[in-house]
């Protein structure tokens, strides 16, 4: 094999030129699917996801009739062309089931479901391009689509991860850094209250290191929140001006 991959250069730059605490570039567009109640395409670096939200609407499944809260259904799929190699569609994909469950459980605590008894909110997530940390981008994309749909939530749900390579905590890892095999902690928080809604750890990590990595990830969430909030407010201003609800000053 070749020489050991250097993840932090002498100048302190990562493989893609970022600093350890720098998140990837964010680009998003709301309302991309006109028939959906809410939708978005979100890019974080080279990871790209598309999310559509339908609801609140009539409950389709018989079992969910008469529920006091809105039922949240999540469909997650990652396109065959999203990764480095073309993926075969498996009959039962464990990762798919895990992500669906994680998104559903997380948003059940964020969306104000008690406002819509006997209704359902359906979230469709499609990963178009994955360059690491797709789950966090999916959660952020779902937040954007829900905001676009006007579905009431407690707060923005912002997700970000942090890894630990070569003695440094790195925020928002990309695929190359993921392959290094170091520990990774994706976390999802309510942006303003900083309450943790989702947290994952699949590696062994000492207590002190975990604290440092978690702190780094949560700081990443704050950075992402600032970017998203500013752009969403600008988007809302333009739309509402158009509909003559606010004056254009």
């Amino acid at each position: 094999m070749g020489s050991k991959q250097e993840f932090i250069s002498l100048e302190g730059l990562r493989v893609d030129g970022r600093r350890p605490r720098e998140i990837r570039k964010i680009k998003f567009e709301l309302g991309v699917l006109p028939r959906a109640d809410g939708s978005c395409i979100l890019e974080q670096g080279m990871t790209k996801v598309m999310v559509a939200v339908y609801g609140p609407g009539e409950v389709r499944g018989r079992a969910d009739h008469g529920s006091k809260n809105a039922v949240i259904l999540v469909n997650y799929s990652s396109a065959a062309f999203s990764g480095n190699e073309r993926k075969k569609k498996l009959r039962y994909d464990k990762q798919q089931a895990e992500v669906c469950q994680a998104v559903k459980a997380t948003f059940e605590g964020v969306i104000l479901t008690r406002l819509y008894p006997q209704s359902q909110i359906e979230i469709f997530i499609e990963v178009l391009q994955t360059d690491g940390n797709a789950v966090c981008t999916c959660l952020n994309g779902a937040t954007l689509a829900l905001v676009d749909a006007g579905i009431p939530m407690q707060d923005y749900l912002i997700a970000c991860n942090a890894g630990y390579i070569d003695g440094t905590a790195l925020v928002d890892t990309n695929a190359q850094e993921d392959l290094a095999g170091g520990p990774r902690v994706p976390v999802a928080v309510l942006a303003r209250s900083q309450k943790i809604c989702h947290l994952q750890l699949d590696h062994k990590l000492s207590r002190e290191l975990f604290d440092e990595v978690l702190k780094t990830a949560m700081e990443g969430c704050t950075q992402i929140f600032n970017v998203l909030d500013t752009q969403i407010k600008e988007h809302a201003r333009r739309q509402l001006e158009s509909a003559s609800v606010v004056s254009s000053t």
């Binding site: 009539e58 905001v147 006007g150 707060d155 969403i232 201003r237």
Partner: protein, 307 residues
């Protein structure tokens, strides 16, 4: 910021007031454990004295008494003597058998035979116009078609837009000067068809009356639409879609603005939907912004707060 100022844009989780108890909580807000009032949607703050409401950018149609709507039948429930109607809301609306006019205008109690004939009146995926009679809890609307102007719609085209762009108008059944009839459903479903001349209408009525002698549920006859007429309909439909994607209020004046702009720009209907022409087509309609605010303020003051 404490006590959000009217007309500011807020996002979910943003603080509106430190003490929620001092205010009346409207839609789009919620109280957290420490008693603060927070926004739950992204939208604009609307303050009226102590009432704080957030109007979101987008939401499904919220039915209100008296609204004229265009809907599509999703289910025929003969057992419950009800039709389920999709009106672009969070819940499907109900159209009870008791709320429709029986054919030939007879007045009698609905019996089992009427229930079995429901499908001959309105079948699955038929489009109809109706009025909201009542709104039961959680947004379930009850519709009625107790007027000759309401009922099944034929020989036309349905365009679906965001409900928030259609405000309460003096007239929801309008005729454009280019010869197009429109029903602007307050729920965001718009029905457009070619205006028929009185002679054509008389002939169609004659044919239908004759057919009704054999079958009371006979539909009006098919009326051919020429290619030129279909071009006009397509242009109107796309004008409406342009207004929808530009988030501009939809009413006859703005629809004609975009229609005329598309003719001046020499665009064929399919080209109109291209994003690059959006600013050209909407330039006149956007300038009317001040007018609509005044025009609709009159209507808003009259209607109840429907949220």
């Amino acid at each position: 910021m404490d006590a959000a100022v009217d007309a500011t844009i807020v996002t979910p989780g943003e603080l509106l007031a430190v003490n929620a108890a001092e205010y009346l909580r409207g839609h789009g807000t919620y109280t957290d454990e420490s008693g603060r009032l927070l926004a739950s949607v992204c939208g604009v703050v609307q303050r009226v004295a102590k009432l704080i409401t957030i109007k979101p950018m987008r939401s499904r149609y919220v039915p209100a008494n008296g609204d004229v709507v265009v809907g599509r039948i999703t289910e025929v429930q003969e057992k419950n003597k009800t039709w389920k109607v999709d009106v672009n809301g969070r819940k499907e609306a109900n159209l009870l058998l008791n709320a429709v006019n029986l054919p030939c205008g007879t007045l009698r109690k609905r019996d089992k035979e009427d229930a079995l004939n429901m499908r001959r009146m309105y079948a699955d995926s038929d489009v109809l116009s109706a009025e909201v009679q009542e709104v039961k809890g959680e947004g379930k609307a009850h519709l009625h078609t107790r007027s000759t102007k309401y009922g099944k719609l034929y020989n036309g085209m349905l365009v679906a837009v965001q409900a928030s762009l259609i405000k309460k108008l003096p007239q929801h059944f309008v005729t454009l000067e280019i010869g197009v009839d429109m029903i602007l459903g307050k729920n965001g479903y718009i029905w457009i068809s070619i205006t028929r001349t009185d002679a054509e209408k008389a002939v169609a009525q004659q044919i239908q009356d004759k057919a009704k002698e054999k079958d009371v549920y006979a539909p009006p006859p098919y009326q051919p639409t020429s290619a030129a007429q279909r071009q006009i309909l397509a242009r109107v439909a796309n004008s409406i879609k342009v207004l929808d994607s530009a988030f501009i209020a939809i009413y006859p004046t703005t629809i004609m603005d975009v229609y005329r702009a598309s003719e001046e720009a020499n665009l064929i209907p399919p080209e109109m939907l291209d994003k690059k022409y959006q600013s050209v087509l909407t330039s006149t309609a956007i300038r009317r912004r001040g007018d609509t605010a005044k025009e609709f303020k009159k209507n808003d003051d009259m209607e109840d707060d429907e949220d």
